[in-house]
């Protein structure tokens, strides 16, 4: 059965018939979807279905893994990001990423946040300070850490560390932010803060978030994709997926009847 391709307004990312193999194991099967600019798109699905794999494709983090074969095409702003002409570092600056597990550098909070801007060659302390403050504020962390910017980031709690990682990604001012279960280690208050932040970010950035929290997906995202076993099962406007899923599998998963 050929699936209907969901159309979204102003697509920034086009994923066209993407296959991904870890060695011989097929992890993504013919994924085709478009992601809407300046909206929040969430990916949901059972563990191991390939959500992380897919978003890693968007900033080519899969390049680092041995034996990965990718077929198909991903376009960002109508440019094939896997073409040899693409500068990977440049791509990654445009497509920021927050990982599933918090991974701050063993440096100070300040150094963590300005890591990216520094790489781009910004030296002026004033500018860096400003970037740092802005990013931390956006990541809802400024009030927690403003007095100890020069403390080791590893001394923070897990949730705070994750927000440092978010701030670090934001500081780069990317066009697209990929978040892989950013709230899995956070308490509800911090989660709420992050969600507010993401809704805020939407004004300027395209946000793609992987989450296991249905409520979260329902609350914040504009579009939702449901994956299973490496396949995109259903993709449409969030309200539709949660209120009126087209597929039986989707309905089972959302209502918790899955497995």
């Amino acid at each position: 059965m050929e699936k209907v391709r969901t159309t979204v307004p102003e697509p920034i990312v086009n994923i066209i018939d993407l296959f991904l193999y870890y060695g011989k194991v097929e992890a993504l099967k013919k994924i085709a979807l478009d992601i809407s600019r300046k909206n929040i798109t969430s990916f949901i699905g059972p563990s191991g279905c390939g959500k992380s794999t897919l978003i890693r494709c968007l900033n080519r983090m899969n390049d680092l893994i041995e034996n990965v074969t990718i077929e198909g095409c991903i376009r960002i702003d109508d440019q094939d990001i896997y073409s040899p002409a693409v500068d990977v570092t440049e791509l990654r600056r445009r497509v920021g990423m927050v990982f599933q597990k918090p991974n701050p550098f063993p440096k100070t909070i300040y150094e963590n946040v300005i890591y990216g801007p520094r790489l781009m060659g910004i030296r002026k302390k004033g500018i860096l300070d400003e970037i740092c403050e802005k990013a931390l504020k956006k990541a809802a962390l400024w009030d927690d850490v403003k007095d100890r910017l020069h403390a080791n980031a590893l001394d923070l709690s897990g949730g705070q560390q994750q927000r440092i990682c978010i701030a670090r990604a934001i500081a780069m001012e990317p066009e697209i932010i990929l978040l892989d279960e950013p709230c899995s280690a956070l308490d509800p208050i911090a989660t709420a803060k992050i969600e507010d932040m993401l809704c805020d970010l939407k004004k300027d950035y395209t946000v793609i978030i992987v989450t296991h929290n249905m409520q979260q997906a329902a609350r914040i995202s504009d579009y939702t994709g449901f994956f299973m076993m490496g396949e995109l099962v259903e993709y449409s406007v969030t309200s539709e997926i949660f209120t009126n899923p087209r597929e039986k599998q989707t309905e089972d998963y959302i209502t918790g009847r899955f497995g």
């Binding site: 680092l64 570092t89 990654r92 990423m97 550098f105 063993p106 890591y115 790489l119 080791n152 990604a169």
Partner: protein, 774 residues
């Protein structure tokens, strides 16, 4: 239940075994430290008196001496009687009369080992020899003294009495200088040589050389200060005179000074070439007596503000001890000096503790540069010239008349005007060692200035060991530094490349390099010394230009790489680029070797060694610091590589991903994330490499010339502390000074490694603390 019990037992057993093991390790290290320290400790001990005995003498003592074991002493009285007394019982063993004295009185004597020269108040000079023979009857040792009377120098010709005598002689030659009571200095020499017809021929000379210095005294000295000074000198001597006779220099009754000048002391060296004359005006005249018939004045040196009252040579007869009327004791010697007309000048090199009264006698040790000085107030000092220390101070209460050192320098004998003979047995095994001689500049005989010198053994018996640890410490630092300069960057960059960039299929390189670490250092040393060093010497110009060509070839490789059409995925994989470099580097090496000759002839003008010394003023040794650096690098690189590679591989992948996801290039990630995060490991790697380089023995031993010089020059050798121990320990007599200094060197190495390791561990812990939350 049962298994729980068993587990508890196992737990407890493990606990004990581990505690025991740990404690044992600490104890062993402590024991090692204590053992080494105990071997070093005697170096730091002060000299001390172990026994004091007194005997009585009967008359005016002119000279004395003792056998090797301090069992029998002889005492020479001014009436020609020689008494041998047992030092154990005090009993008189034997009495000997010097024949031919005919009632004349001995006024002065000069002693050189067994040889004694006695001079009398009526102008006679006798040479006698006193020796001791040992015989064993069962367990006990019997020492038998023996007096051998030799020829009487043609003394009858001297009309005047003798005040002061100095004399040296060997099988064929005898030279004696006497100062007579009518103010004349007379040189008496006899030489036995072979005539062309192989007959023995004895030549005798006798020459009045008073004129040599009288002229001088009048010309330069008398004009300004002399008269006052001279009378002052005379007065002092007059005061000190009362029965004061010493082994080396002595005075008889003073008569009026007819020649207008006066001599207070004389000293002739064993080469029978240089005669030194001390005067009341504080001058020393140096007379060259090589030509017995025509001695001439070499120089006149002002050595003191007061009268020179005692002159004496140290062992080897090169250093001259000058004692003066105000108690000063200084050591002078001939030092190269371009300003002097004959290239040498008498210079004051050591200043010793002053007496409070005029110095009247000097007696040298027969073992080292130690000597005794005695002053009129009865104080006797045991000094060591080179180390400039006064080791012991004695007091007799009365003016000493004769002074002697036992042959083994472990006993001191003093006779005083109160007819007593003191015997002090002393414990003084390492007089030459002080912190200053070990670590400071020391002015040794034959050197132009104070220097750091290590030279433990020499050809002659009177050789003085020079045991400065500074050149060795310098050598260790130089070797370590050059090694680390080579090994640290290579080790760390290789580790970085291997851990971060190299393709997995090529990572077998790591175990290969680890095997290199297991290579016995003797093999590395052997290869470095016998293969690499000559090779490098032969191809030196090629080696100089090699870095340039290798860099160039890498540059070319990069350009080629960039413009090469995209290579099929078939064979190229990330992290295998390094293979492409190999042909380029080999090419560069070949080109350098080809061009080496051209480079040498055109740029270095023919011969690089010559160019080196001409343009850079450097010397090229075959076995040099670069060879050592490379060979030790081979030993140290694997250590640094393995440990830092482990540290870098252990940097969490999540951090690397984080950095790359932020748009960092792999190199930026390496520098900003991997190196800092792995820094504790890299730091330990460097420290372990450092420890290895400091302690490495075989490689430095075999790959350098082991010359203890202190130059940073890359192309000459050095001697490291560790190699020095290996070189010298077979030569070092058990318990001797060298032996102990070698232990000190090992203590130094031990402590250095200990401190460096402790420091490294502390730093590493601190660094780890920063990163351990990962």
């Amino acid at each position: 239940m049962k298994s729980l019990k068993r587990r508890r037992y196992a737990d407890r057993a493990a606990h004990w075994v581990i505690t025991l093991g740990g404690t044992a390790t600490v104890l062993v290290i402590l024991a090692l430290f204590i053992f080494i320290f105990l071997e070093v400790y005697p170096l730091l001990q002060d000299a001390r008196i172990t026994k004091e005995t007194t005997h009585s003498v009967h008359g005016k003592v002119i000279s004395m001496g003792v056998d090797d074991h301090q069992e029998v002493a002889y005492i020479i009285y001014n009436n020609g009687v020689i008494e041998f007394i047992s030092l154990k019982s005090g009993a008189l063993l034997k009495k000997h009369h010097v024949s031919g004295l005919d009632g004349s009185v001995i006024t002065s004597a000069d002693k050189d080992h067994d040889r004694l020269v006695l001079a009398t108040n009526d102008g006679k000079v006798f040479t006698i020899s006193i020796s001791f023979s040992e015989s064993f009857a069962g367990d006990s040792r019997a020492v038998t003294p023996e007096v051998l009377e030799e020829k009487k120098v043609k003394a009858s010709k001297l009309k005047a009495g003798i005040l002061n005598v100095t004399s040296r002689g060997d099988d064929s030659t005898d030279v004696t200088a006497v100062y007579t009571n009518d103010g004349h200095l007379i040189l008496i020499a006899s030489e036995t040589g072979k005539t062309p017809l192989d007959n023995e021929e004895k030549k005798e000379f006798q020459k009045d050389i008073t004129g040599l210095f009288v002229a001088h005294s009048i010309n330069q000295n008398t004009a300004s200060v002399p008269y006052l000074l001279q009378t002052e000198g005379i007065e002092r001597r007059e005061k000190a005179k009362a029965g004061m006779q010493t082994a080396d220099n002595s005075s008889g009754d003073l008569t009026e000074q007819r020649t207008g000048t006066e001599i207070t002391s004389l000293a002739l060296d064993l080469f029978m070439e240089n005669l030194y004359i001390g005067t009341p005006s504080g001058d020393v005249f140096h007379i060259d007596v090589r030509d017995r018939e025509n001695p001439y004045l070499v120089e006149k040196v002002k050595v003191s503000e007061s009268a020179v009252t005692a002159l004496g040579f140290l062992l080897g007869d090169v250093s001259l001890v000058v004692g003066d009327a105000s108690g000063g004791v200084n050591v002078w010697m001939q030092v190269r000096d371009d300003r002097s007309s004959w290239g040498w000048a008498l210079k004051k090199v050591h200043i010793l503790r002053s007496h409070k009264a005029p110095v009247i006698a000097v007696a040298p040790s027969m073992r080292d540069k130690g000597f005794l000085t005695a002053a009129t107030d009865g104080t006797i000092y045991l000094n060591h010239a080179t180390s400039e220390q006064t080791l012991l101070r004695f007091k007799t209460g009365y003016t000493p008349v004769a002074l002697a050192f036992s042959p083994k320098a472990n006993g001191i004998f003093v006779a005083d005007t109160n007819n007593r003979l003191f015997q002090w047995r002393i414990f003084n095994p390492h007089p030459e060692i002080t912190v200053k001689t070990l670590f400071g500049r020391v002015w040794y005989e034959g050197y132009e200035k104070p220097e750091f010198v290590w030279q433990s053994t020499g050809g002659t018996d009177d050789f003085e060991p020079k045991l400065s640890l500074v050149p060795l410490i310098f050598g260790t630092i130089k070797g370590t530094l050059y090694t680390l300069v080579i090994a640290v960057p290579i080790g760390i960059f290789a580790a970085l490349y291997t851990s971060q960039f190299l393709h997995n299929s090529l990572k077998i390189i790591k175990p290969v390099i680890e095997i290199m670490a297991a290579l016995p250092s003797v093999i590395l040393g052997f290869l470095a010394g016998l293969w690499l060093a000559p090779l490098m010497e032969r191809m030196f110009p090629a080696i100089i230009i090699m870095p340039f060509f290798i860099t160039l070839s890498i540059g070319i490789a990069l350009v080629v790489w960039k413009y090469l059409p995209v290579i099929g995925k078939g064979w190229y994989r990330h992290g295998t680029e390094v293979l492409v470099l190999i042909p380029f580097i080999i090419g560069a090496i070949v080109v350098s070797i080809q061009l080496g000759g051209v480079f040498e002839t055109n740029i270095l003008r023919g011969d690089y060694r010559e160019w080196f010394s001409r343009v850079l003023g450097l010397k090229y040794d075959q076995r040099n610091a670069v060879v050592v650096g490379i060979a030790m690098g081979f030993a140290v690189i694997p250590l640094i590589f393995t440990i830092s590679e482990d540290a870098m591989s252990n940097v969490p992948k999540s951090l690397i991903s984080a950095s790359l996801a932020l748009g960092a290039t792999p190199w930026q990630t390496a520098v900003r994330v991997i190196l800092p995060t792995a820094s504790p490991g890299i730091f330990s790697a460097i420290m372990i490499g450092f420890g290895r380089a400091v302690g490495e023995t075989m490689i430095v031993l075999m790959a350098t010339g082991n010359t203890p010089i202190m130059e940073w020059n890359l192309f000459n050798g050095f001697r490291a502390l560790s190699a020095n121990i290996a070189v010298e320990i077979p030569e070092a007599p058990f318990g001797g000074t060298l032996y102990r200094v070698l232990f000190l060197a090992s203590l130094l190495l031990f402590v250095t490694t200990f401190i460096v390791n402790t420091l490294a561990e502390t730093v590493r812990r601190r660094m780890r603390l920063k990163y351990n939350k990962l």
